[in-house]
């Protein structure tokens, strides 16, 4: 025999060398994570804590007064407007979601399953992102010449004889707000769904076809269930973005609709910081609840 097999020396052997080696490597991850942790601590955790603290402060027309009062919350939660505004904001979120989801799904589906080369997928995707390089605000005000009473669309419709009065609901309405949301946020839905679709093994689709599934059945029984995590992530994006929005609602509703973000922005502009802070705390809680609910569908870490 060329090899010697020593008899096992028992548990003592295990105990003998218990010391961890290369300790130096162990601090490295902490150092590497520190900048991120620090940045988020200083610019996220502490500010949010500040909001929480300030939400209990008092204020007059120009100043905040350190104190501990519940009036901000009382006024907030005791007011019917708050509830209405929340309902309205959630309605916007629901509407935006209801439109971005099917559109985003269809676009992602097209890119993932009908566009065959990665090159073309890249090109088409970049084409979709180009408009986002124009300033948001300028893009939004440019809806006005397009959708207005005498805007491009109405003129076209009248010119074609499709309508005889300009359509008023096109601008400064829920329609225009949701339209702008869809415009701004559909891409946030497309990307995660596309990502999920690209990870579906193509042979699964062949297997389904082999089992006699037609196109619709494949969509419903295979693609949709497997795209669920992507849908969840996209939905989180869209819903949180809409929940916090204020500029779109203000510009596109002609100031006629309220959203929580807008209320907060108004309160900020009127220097009512504690009221804004109380509102922010409630909004944060609502958004977090929604996100946690949506996260039940998906483990984000697995989806990367």
């Amino acid at each position: 025999m060329i090899a010697t097999v020593h008899p096992p020396t028992g548990a003592t052997a295990v105990a003998r060398r218990g010391r961890p080696s290369r300790r130096r490597l162990r601090i490295a991850p902490y150092l590497q994570a520190a900048p991120l942790a620090l940045a988020l601590l200083v610019f996220l955790v502490v500010p949010i804590a500040t909001i929480l603290v300030v939400s209990f402060w008092d204020y007059d027309s120009v100043r905040v007064i350190p104190d501990f009062v519940l009036t901000n919350y009382e006024e907030l939660l005791g007011s019917a407007v708050t509830w209405k505004t929340y309902l309205n904001t959630i309605r916007y979120a629901a509407l935006a979601w209801a439109f971005t989801l099917p559109i985003g799904f269809a676009v992602a589906y097209f890119l993932a399953f009908h566009v065959r080369t990665v090159m073309w997928q890249m090109v088409l995707f970049l084409i979709c992102t180009v408009p986002f390089w124009t300033s948001n605000i300028i893009r939004m005000i440019s809806w006005i010449p397009f959708l207005g009473r005498n805007g491009l669309l109405n003129q076209t419709l009248i010119g074609l004889g499709l309508v005889d009065h300009p359509l008023e609901f096109l601008l400064f309405s829920d329609f225009s707000v949701v339209l702008a949301f869809v415009h701004l946020y559909t891409l946030f839905m497309v990307v995660p769904i596309f990502n999920a679709m690209m990870r579906i093994d193509r042979s699964l689709i062949e297997a389904a076809r082999d089992a006699g599934a037609n196109g619709r059945q494949i969509l419903w029984n295979v693609i949709l269930p497997l795209t669920k995590p992507g849908i969840a992530i996209g939905s989180i994006f869209v819903v949180t973005l809409v929940m916090g929005d204020f500029i779109t609602v203000r510009l596109m509703s002609g100031g006629q609709s309220a959203s929580i973000g807008l209320t907060i922005a108004n309160e900020i502009s009127l220097l009512q910081y504690p009221a804004a802070a109380a509102n922010a705390v409630v909004l944060l809680a609502v958004v977090m609840l929604m996100v946690v609910a949506m996260l039940r569908v998906v483990d984000i870490r697995k989806e990367l």
């Binding site: 988020l40 500010p47 300033s135 973000g261 907060i264 910081y273």
Partner: protein
């Protein structure tokens, strides 16, 4: 012959949906582009009142109010700083997460919450914090931080995606061949990840360059470009705004093109470098 290769009805339907979607996306951009060529007498709305490049020229003249140049330079500088920090911080954190450490889950979820917390709350929080502590908010401090809370989560998520596809054995091979930790990063990890890192950088820059809500309460006394544009909308009623919009689009386009171009060039250079050496 039946075929899986031939385009079915669903292809044409979806292609139409996609085309409409693109049209919809481009609607405003095109409107802006067209209106920015209004004649000198033209307004912000249709109809066109002549065609000229007046408003582009006007953009470079001194405006009655505001300061495009300054705000553009600030936004550019801020975008670049955010870009660099985003890359450095998220790549470094990516390494940490790969190695694993106590509290990584907490930090991960904190990062994710940074993504879902509405921008205005971040803006408000940082604004309040700075006011209370008594530090002047400025674009290079508070706004920078506010932007980071937005770009870092994206950066980290992308880095995660990159690292999930990055084979650990490259690093082990390097270590095996005598590379120290820094040499491994310098000669193996970074070169391999470079194209993706350029992606993170571009992402960081564009997110910051057009960020409005998070700058609102944090930019301090000097406006960034989106704030300036917003300010302009309150008192400028000429197509110079659209000219600005068109130019910023072109500018972003150039930045992205430069980014994508450099990735392609890098790839080409590597391949050609390979062939060249073979010859």
């Amino acid at each position: 012959m039946r075929t899986t290769a031939r385009r079915g009805l669903s292809f044409y339907l979806l292609a139409a949906v996609f085309a409409l979607f693109v049209l919809f996306l481009y609607g405003p951009t095109v409107t802006i582009a067209v209106l920015s060529f209004q004649g000198p007498e033209g307004g912000l709305t249709f109809p066109m009142n002549g065609v000229s490049t007046h408003w582009f020229a006007n953009l470079f003249e001194r405006q009655a109010v505001g300061d495009f140049g300054g705000s553009f330079r600030r936004s550019l500088a801020l975008g670049l700083i955010v870009m660099v920090l985003t890359v450095v911080i998220s790549v470094s954190a990516g390494f940490a997460f790969r190695r694993g450490f106590i509290g990584s889950t907490a930090l991960f979820y904190l990062t994710v919450s940074s993504l879902v917390i509405p921008s205005i709350l971040v803006s408000l929080g940082i604004g309040l914090l700075f006011t209370i502590v008594g530090i002047e908010p400025a674009w290079y401090s508070s706004a920078l931080g506010a932007h980071l809370t937005w770009t870092l989560p994206f950066g980290l998520l992308i880095v995660f995606a990159i690292f999930n596809r990055f084979d650990k054995s490259f690093e082990e091979a390097a270590r095996d061949l005598g590379a120290g930790p820094w040499q491994t990063v310098r000669h193996v990890v970074l070169p391999i990840l470079l194209p993706s890192i350029i992606g993170v950088a571009l992402f960081g820059f564009t997110l910051s360059y057009d960020e409005f809500a998070r700058s609102l309460m944090t930019a301090g006394s000097n406006n960034t470009l989106p704030l300036e544009i917003y300010g302009m909308t309150t008192n400028v009623t000429t197509p110079v705004l659209y000219a600005l919009g068109t130019l910023t689009t072109v500018f972003s386009f150039l930045v992205i093109a430069a980014g994508v171009g450099s990735v392609l060039l890098l790839r080409r250079w590597r391949t050609r470098g390979g062939r060249g050496a073979a010859a």
